[in-house]
Amino acid sequence: MMRKFKLFLSLNTEEKWINLVQETGYRLVKVNPFLHIYTFENLNSKDDFNPYTRIDFHNENMSTSKYLDYVTIFSDSGWKLVYGSRHGGAQYFQQKDAQSPRDIFSDPESKNLPRKRFMNFAITYAILFFTDLFVFIQAGYFSWRNLFDLKSWYLTPGLWNMQGSTFWKAFLFETPFALLRSVFFLFFLAMGIYYILKAIVNGNDVRDSAVNNK
């Protein structure tokens, strides 16, 4: 049993990484998409079948019966669902045995569709986080100037003129509050940038494969 935490900017790099880990004698058995934790299990023996794992992606809800139909087409075709949700997101499918096909897509156009959906999803989230950021700034909770001026995070009057232990007491006392004030801002900023990068990297994957197929 091996647990790994990892963040990815694209479905291609995530899929490649999972398969690289599996090649060293492991099988992906669990994915926690919220904590980004991947759980692998050791293959039993050296001649144990070494599976491929492939990722599909949905950005829309499916009804329970539709999702069941979706998973069953994959299951009938030799793919076991490792992790997935009918509410969308990445769906991880793993080859059941050596008879399973190598991929869950048989032409480049259909392989591109989940990458396009992932890009649209990332753009939506980037817009969402940056909108929140803008609202924060408009409401006066924070400004871009504050970001690089750490002293401005502290609101105690005359704090920076205090001396010795008086200063340290006041400083340490306010630090949690100062962090709390900025933590939301920094979080939204980081998430916004993270999703913009995801959109760009996946957009490039989609474009590259379109060029290669021409």
């Binding site: 599909d56 087409i73 392989k111 569709l113």
Partner: protein
């Protein structure tokens, strides 16, 4: 003027063809594999996406299924119409090719 949806991909052409009888997704995959002598193997994700797209175009429709886990589909009149147009297009192509001695 030619229908803007033409030409069809080989995948779509085969799916419409085999859905002249009611089939579920994997049933269609197997039937296409058989009819093409193993040349056309449609993967699960590709089949699912194609079915979604054909439902949107109303070229196929869902029909009642005994099996709760597998939805069953069949071609519609619109689908038959497009399949006819595409077959005519390819026949014309073959006719031209024949004139060149192929």
């Amino acid at each position: 003027m030619r229908n803007k949806n033409l030409p069809l991909t080989e995948t779509v052409y085969y799916i419409l063809l085999v859905l002249n009888q009611p089939l579920h997704g994997y049933g269609a995959i197997q039937e296409i594999d058989r009819l093409s002598n193993g040349d056309v193997k449609i993967a699960a994700g590709t089949m699912y996406g194609a079915i979604e797209n054909l439902l949107k175009l109303r070229w196929i429709k869902e029909v009642p299924s005994q099996d709760k886990r597998r939805r069953v589909y069949q071609i519609t009149e619109d689908g038959k119409n497009i399949l006819g147009l595409e077959t005519q297009r390819m026949q014309q192509l073959v006719k031209v090719a024949n004139k060149f001695g192929y």
